[in-house]
Every structure is written in C-alpha cells, then in structure tokens.
C-alpha cells in the first residue's frame, strides 16, 4: 500500500446551493468516507477555511495560492491505495467532483535515506 494526498480544488461553495443540495452532498460524503474507512484506506482529511496566507522568503501575501485554471485548494484527503490508478479511481468517486471541483492526486514521497 502507498499513501496519496488528494488536493481538492475549486467546487461550488455551500452558500451558493440550496439546503437540499447541501444535505445530499453531505450524505454523499458520508458514504464515500465510510467506504474508505471500511477498507482501511483513509488516514486523514479535512476541509479548509476559505481565506489564507502565503509565506515566501520575500513577503507574506494575504491570500492563499489561486491558480487561474485549477482554483484554490479547499480541502485534502490522505488515502492508502495500491497504485496511482487506484488512487485516481477513488478520487473519481469523491463527491467533490460532483460539486464541480477538481482533485489533484499525488503520491506521498520518500526522502532518500542519508
């Protein structure tokens, strides 16, 4: 098993949707996460508050990084999967996609031993 970080970007904010839509989305999340849990494939994951800051050597900006194409990161998941393909399959099933968001799937790396 390898570990993958799923970066959840963009998607419609809850405030722009009806209560029924939000409720349905929450239920979809419940069954999606429940499934991962059952398979022992989830190690972490939480949504993020919308604002943020970005620190670089030169300055601190009052904004999170926003890519014009992909949008701002709104949440993350850490999952276990056998391969990048399986991790992508899991991402495809994530309710965030239904919510018009996109997901970046990245494998947790290994630092070379010294």
């Amino acid at each position: 098993m390898k570990e993958y970080l799923l970066l959840l970007r963009a998607g419609k904010p809850a405030s722009t949707k009806t209560e029924a839509e939000n409720k349905a989305e929450l239920q979809a999340w419940g069954s999606f996460m429940g499934n991962l849990q059952k398979n022992g494939q989830i190690t972490g994951g939480l949504p993020l508050v919308s604002g943020g800051k970005t620190v670089s050597a030169a300055k601190i900006s009052g904004e999170p990084v926003n890519s014009p194409k992909e949008g701002i990161i709104g949440g993350y998941l850490i999952i276990k999967a056998k391969s990048l393909e399986e991790a992508v399959e899991i991402a495809k099933a994530c309710p965030h996609i239904e919510n018009e968001g996109n997901i970046e799937v990245r494998e947790i790396g290994v630092m070379p031993a010294m």
Partner: protein, 423 residues
C-alpha cells in the same frame, strides 16, 4: 567461507545487543520481536553478501547501516499501524519523511549506545520479572546468546528457555515498559536489581559444574562486560557497582587454575597460583579503590575483600585466615544466611581448629536448610577427619557424595574419603 561464518558469529555476540537496544528504543519494548527480527535479517544478509563480496572494511558499521535501513523500511510500512506506537516525542518525527532519516541517524549515534544498553538492562531487570527470566532475557537480548546456548548454560531444555522468553515478552507487550533510566530516587534500588542479575549470571558461569566449560567461560565474560558497562555509565557509578566489578575480577583471575586440562575441578589448596592472572588482580584492586567512596558497605564489598585476600596469599596455609574470618563474621552479621555461616565455618577451622569449627557448625541457625546441601556434609566430614573421628567423617563424606549434583563433585569428595584410609 567458514571464516565468514565465524567472524559473523563473533560479531553477532558483540554487536547484536547494541543493535537490539537501539531498535527497542525505536519500536518499543512491546515490539522486542521486531527488533530481534531486524537483527536476525541483518546478519543473514551480512553472511550472504560477505561470502560473495568479502568482508567490508568496517563490518560493525556495515551491520548498523543495514539494520538502520531495515528499521526505516518497517517504519515506512507501519506509519499508521496500531502495532507500533510512534506517538512519543522522539518517535513522532520518525513518521514524517522530512525527519525520518535524520532522526534515525541521531538514534544510531555511537555515543548514545551505552545509554541505550543501560536502559535495555533496566527494562530486562524490571522488578516484576522473575530473577531467572531477567537473566534469560539479558542473555538473549543484550549478550546475543541463542536459545540453545542459554539452555546449555543453565543445563535446561530449549523448550524451558523459550517458554521463559515468551512469558517475559508477553509481559513487555502488556505492560509496555518504557525504556528509561530510573529517577534519582529509584536509581539505587533498581541498580541493585541489575547487580543481583549480573552476580547470578557470574555465579552461574563460575560455580556451576558440568562439562560445558566454554559456554561457562562466556557467561563470566558477559557478566564482566555488563558490570563494566555500569562502572562506565555516570548514572550507575555507585560504590556497590565497583565492588561487584572488583569481586568479578578477583574471582576471574583464578579461573584458569580452577580446572585441570581434563575439565576437573581443582580446589583452592591445590591450585597452581602462578597461573593466576596478575593483571586482573590489579584491575580488581583498582575497582576496589573506587568502591570505597561514600559509606556504603555491601556484601559485594566484603566478598571482594575476601577474594582479594585469597588472590594475594602466597599459599593456602599462608592466607590471612584471621582477616578472612573477620570478613565472614561481618557478612553473617549483615547478610545472615545458612550458606554464609557455612563459609564462615571453613575459615574458622583454619584459624581456631576443628573443635571450634564443629561447635560453630552446631550453632548455625536454620541448619536444617543445609541438610540437603552436599558441601555441608563434605565440610562436616573434613571437620571430623581433622579431629580424628574417621568413622564419622566417612559417614558424612558418603552422604556428601550421594547429594553432590555432578560426577566431578562426587569425585572430589570420594578422593577425600580415600584420604581417610591412607592416614
């Protein structure tokens, strides 16, 4: 090829305890099996690689590096496993790739190993573990003995040893004993437990009979190494630690003269004193000096003082028996037991003669406890022989032969019995 096997088994004896101590700090005492597996796998890999590529320049360093990388692999595979607890300060950083390698490097640093070994020793000698299990575990984890070697050393079966190890590991699994050096308040009593274990280990090698001479010599060497570790660690530099080290040196100095080339025991009066190891006697004296700070006077101090008197005596007859008798009287006063009383009687006979010895023998409290001890009867035999009562001596010797645990001891008493007839 054989050479590689031999070198690696010597390395195993010397380095595996260090590696187990470090690995147990990483995986916890509850995962001692993991630590042992890593060391085992490392040595298997070493033998396979070295047979093809030859011995590396620094074999111990090679082993450490391989074991370290194996530990890294296990951590990567088990970051989120419930089997391993990586929650404490040091281990939490092992979970992140950013810090895994450098944290690992720090854990394997040469100058930390002695403390790791000491922590491991304290864990093995946890007060809730039975004495014989403590020693078994020490031999297995810190001294690199195999189950078969421990069985040979204790004249017991491999099955018994395995069961003991299993029970102790089960205790570790449940109790999750933390690897640490005890607090200042506890240090003295917990170090006392370590000393008892080392003392028993040494006695097992030094006094027990049986023909496994080589393995017994190794027990003595291991006891010496472990005790030395305590003398060198600032946490455990207590007077009694130096006293036990001195005692071990003085006894070991005489070791070569105690058996004949055929492996038979030679008693003190008949030992070739020119074979005694003078450098070990000097080393013992040096530890004795260090043992005399503070006002601690332990049984190790007195026993070391007695052993020293024997070491410096020109002959059995010229031994300072008067002083030795004084020492025994102290021991009997502070640490009374039927066995020490019996030892006192031997010195008493040298100083005051057989009649006084017989009287002292009759005054031993709990004399009943000695009834099943072969040396008690053998000494009574000697006392009666010296006072001229040959028939009584013969009866005691016969009883001694009957009770003696091994052929070698039976033979010694039989020779004394033969001596009766010649007079």
């Amino acid at each position: 090829m054989d050479n590689i096997n031999e070198i690696s088994s010597q390395l195993f004896r010397r380095e595996s305890g260090k590696m187990i101590s470090i690995l147990t700090r990483i995986f916890g005492t509850e995962n001692l099996d993991t630590a042992e597996d890593v060391v085992q796998q490392t040595f298997i890999e070493a033998i396979q690689t070295w047979k093809i590529k030859g011995l590396p320049e620094n074999p111990a360093g090679w082993l450490f590096l391989v074991a370290k990388n194996k530990a890294i692999d296990i951590i990567r595979k088990n970051r989120h496993s419930v089997l391993y607890d990586f929650s404490n300060d040091e281990r939490n950083l092992l979970k992140s790739e950013y810090t895994l390698a450098s944290t690992m490097d720090n854990l394997w640093k040469e100058d930390l190993i002695a403390d790791d070994q000491l922590r491991m020793m304290f864990a093995c000698c946890h007060p809730e573990i039975a004495k014989e299990n403590q020693i078994t575990l020490i031999l297995k984890t810190l001294c690199g003995f195999t189950t078969a070697e421990i069985a040979k050393a204790f004249l017991s079966s491999e099955d018994t040893v395995s069961k003991r190890l299993y029970r102790t590991k089960e205790f570790f699994r449940k109790a999750r004993i933390a690897l640490k050096i005890p607090s200042v308040e506890e240090l003295k009593s917990r170090t006392g437990t370590l000393l008892t274990a080392i003392y028993l280990l040494f006695n097992e090698g030094y006094y027990s009979s049986g023909n496994k001479k080589l393995i017994r010599k190794e027990l003595i060497e291991e006891a010496m190494l472990l005790c030395k570790l305590l003398t060198e660690n600032e946490h455990t530099q207590l007077p009694e630690v130096f006293a036990l080290m001195a005692l071990i040196c003085f006894h070991s100095a005489r070791n070569d003269s105690r058996t004949s080339p055929e492996g038979e025991i030679i008693l003190l009066p008949y030992q070739d004193r020119s074979k005694w190891d003078q450098s070990l006697i000097r080393e013992g004296s040096h530890y004795m000096d260090k043992a005399s700070f503070g006002n601690a006077l332990t049984s190790y101090h007195i026993e070391a003082a007695i052993a020293y008197e024997h070491c410096i005596a020109k002959s059995y007859a010229e031994t300072n028996w008067k002083l030795i008798l004084d020492y025994y009287q102290w021991i009997c006063l502070f640490y009374p037991s039927p066995i020490t009383e019996l030892n006192k009687v031997v010195a008493l006979m040298q100083v005051h003669g057989a009649r006084a010895a017989l009287l002292a023998m009759e005054e031993i409290k709990d004399r009943k406890k000695l009834e099943s001890y072969y040396l008690y009867h053998s000494i009574l035999g000697e006392i009666h022989a010296q006072s001229g009562d040959r028939s009584a001596a013969g009866i005691y010797y016969a009883r001694g032969i009957e009770l003696a645990p091994s052929e070698i001891e039976k033979k010694i008493i039989r020779e004394k019995m033969e001596g009766l007839k010649m007079e």
